[in-house]
């Protein structure tokens, strides 16, 4: 996940040659049914899960069984779907940070969340601590962490240079392991952008939690579609922006 590379460190105006752990970023080209659909900049791990999650959140497939073949050869990732007529055009680049991902999907046609999932604030506090405690982040300072949890605890945690990629990974993991996403919540280390909200909607994840902030567009999207957004989960505090009914015990102000 990282390489130790040389750099110059500065402390109190004094520069010294040293090394530092730097997170690995790789470029992958994803092909679906013979067409290039994406150049992804991502961490070189759990690529199968990443691709499955990406294809699902982009609406190219709806479950793993629609993948007829998945080939990872160097930096080329090739997918054949069962319905091979479904060939998309164009390419796009997912930037490593944020804002670079632009979906083909029309937000107005995004699905509503279908779930009766509820989880206590207390459980969220405990889970976020568990998920976001990353050695790799401490070492490199260069990764995002995304976890997927259910009522019984954490299913999986993914680390990546991009939080969108990490979210795709945990969604891919869930689909590969037959985990019901309508009874899960996503825990992320970074900002809850509209893109993160959109991925949750397509995957039918009813709740997304972050120790960071969210955006107006994400809140707007979530409000209309039944997605609960919780930000600034720190210490003993949190902000619940949308659909608070998923947190038992909240007295909802009309």
């Amino acid at each position: 996940m990282y390489e130790i590379l040389p750099c110059y460190g500065e402390e109190d105006g004094v520069y010294t040659a040293r090394t530092h752990e730097v997170i690995i970023e790789e470029r992958y080209t994803i092909w679906v049914n013979g067409r290039k659909i994406l150049n992804a900049m991502t961490s070189p791990t759990r690529l199968e899960e990443f691709v499955i999650g990406y294809l699902v959140t982009e609406g190219i497939i709806s479950h793993c069984q629609e993948i007829d073949s998945l080939q990872i050869e160097g930096n080329q990732i090739r997918v054949l779907t069962i319905h091979r007529a479904h060939i998309r055009s164009g390419t796009k680049t997912v930037l490593s940070g944020c804002g670079g991902d632009s979906s083909y999907l029309d937000p107005a046609r995004l699905p509503d969340i279908t779930s009766d999932f509820q989880i206590s604030g207390e459980r969220i506090h405990a889970t976020i601590k568990k998920i976001l405690d990353s050695d790799l982040h401490r070492l490199t300072g260069g990764i995002h962490v995304v976890g997927l949890a259910g009522i019984d605890g954490v299913h999986t945690v993914a680390e990546d240079i991009g939080r969108h990629n990490a979210l795709d990974r945990v969604i891919g993991y869930a689909l590969q392991h037959d985990i019901d996403l309508s009874h899960c919540y996503a825990v992320i280390s970074g900002r809850i952008s509209s893109e993160m909200a959109r991925k949750c909607l397509v995957a039918n994840i009813p709740l997304i939690v972050s120790r960071g902030a969210t955006t107006t567009l994400a809140i707007h999207l979530a409000q209309g579609k039944g997605l609960t957004i919780i930000g600034f989960v720190r210490g003993r505090k949190m902000n619940i922006y949308t659909h608070p009914e998923r947190i038992p015990g909240i007295e909802i102000v009309k």
């Binding site: 092909w31 049914n33 013979g34 067409r35 073949s69 080939q71 090739r78 054949l80 091979r84 060939i87």
Partner: protein, 393 residues
């Protein structure tokens, strides 16, 4: 296992009783459809093409190799496609680059395809010895041990006999072989279609088998190698990384061995055949066939004038049953079964003349061989037919 569903997808099963599966199996319509879909929607060459059709073809072709490897428990090895099991065996015979004085052990039980390539090597000074089976058609590991010399480079034998249906103790023989640092080639033509085969458990170095005996199209065969350590049989386009007028560098993996445009449609069909077999489950296939085999053996052994060859019991055997009817040439029996009863069986030497010599059956046998789509009702009709033929009705 839902036999009816499978039979509905194989129109010929409605018209006749097909008991010649050791030769070639029938092919489900779904396999034909997949091949037709490929031909009409994605036909293109594999390998170097950049356009989308070539991308799809290349990936399907690659994936067929992966599915084949997984099917036989050999994901760590390399599988190469050829036109049949025979071609795979010949690739080993050529690719080992044996030297004069080297020694090969095979058996009398073998199909000609696992005898001729080795006999041919005798012309180059390579010696070949034959292990003899017991009266029921079993090869004993000890018999191989007795023939091993310090020059022995390869031990090759059939996993399942295409005459007696006997399943050989492949794991034990491979173990002896490896104790002496000798490579092993398993002829899986009759085993891979009918029983779960796991090369990682057996421990063989090479396994060859055909697609046309396992619901796939004719013209498809596989050679699996634990390591891609054989010299390629043929060279040419598609098998190289680079070429100059003074040298060339071969590709890695299966491409190294598959020069020229391969049978892509066949690979697509074989891939679908494997999907069907995986869906049914090879353990279920084996149990079903064994259950019918018990009926056949029990039935035939009670018909006066019928002589059975091979094991009398039903342990360690498959649904391949050889027999003769007293006073009748096997070809005549097979002709009557076809002409009068719409039952297809094989007759003659079954490409095993040395075995027929060994068993002293100069005219060969009648062979009934089963597959997953055969039924108890068909077995009953077959036994009634043999009874009538043997009574001269």
């Amino acid at each position: 296992m839902n036999i009816q569903t499978i039979r509905e997808d194989i129109p010929l099963t409605r018209d006749l009783i097909y008991f010649d599966n050791a030769s070639t199996s029938l092919m489900p319509s779904s396999v034909t459809r997949i091949m037709e879909d490929y031909e009409t929607s994605f036909r293109s060459n594999v390998g170097r093409g950049v356009h989308r059709l070539s991308q799809v073809s290349s990936q399907l072709y690659w994936d067929a190799h992966e599915k084949v490897k997984a099917f036989i428990g050999g994901t760590d090895g390399v599988s190469i496609f050829g036109k049949n099991c025979t071609e795979g065996i010949n690739q080993v015979a050529y690719g080992l680059r044996l030297n004069p004085g080297d020694h090969v052990i095979t058996s009398v039980l073998e199909h000609h395809s696992n005898i001729l390539p080795w006999m041919h090597l005798r012309k180059q000074g390579i010696s070949v010895d034959f292990v003899r089976p017991d009266a029921e058609g079993y090869l004993h590991p000890q018999s191989f041990s007795e023939l091993i010399q310090k020059e022995t480079r390869l031990i090759t034998f059939t996993h399942v006999s295409n005459v007696t249906g006997t399943i050989q103790p492949a794991k034990e023989i491979c173990s002896i072989s490896h104790d002496h640092d000798i490579k092993t080639l398993l002829d899986g033509a009759q085993s891979v279609p009918h029983i779960p085969v796991d090369v990682s458990d057996i421990g063989c170095d090479y396994l060859s088998f055909s697609g046309h005996k396992m619901l796939g199209p004719t013209g498809t065969g596989v050679l699996w190698m634990k390591e891609p350590d054989l010299e390629p049989f043929i060279l040419g386009g598609g098998s190289i990384k680079s070429v100059t007028t003074s040298e060339y560098t071969l590709e890695d993996g299966y491409m190294k061995y598959e020069a020229g445009t391969p049978h892509i449609t066949g690979a697509v069909g074989l891939r679908e055949a494997i999907r069907i077999l995986n869906h049914v489950g090879m353990r279920s296939v084996q149990e079903h066939e064994l259950s019918l085999t018990r009926d056949i053996i029990h039935g035939l052994s009670h018909i006066p004038g019928v002589t059975l060859y091979g094991p009398k019991g039903t342990d360690s055997r498959l649904g391949v049953v050889s027999f003769t009817i007293e006073g009748q040439h096997p070809h005549e029996s097979a002709h009557l079964l076809d002409d009068q009863y719409d039952i297809m069986v094989r007759s003659g030497h079954h490409c095993c003349m040395p075995l027929m010599d060994h068993f002293a059956i100069p005219d060969g046998t009648v062979r009934a061989s089963l597959y997953l789509y055969n039924t108890r009702e068909e077995v009953k009709k077959f036994l009634e037919a043999v009874t009538e033929i043997s009574e001269g009705i």
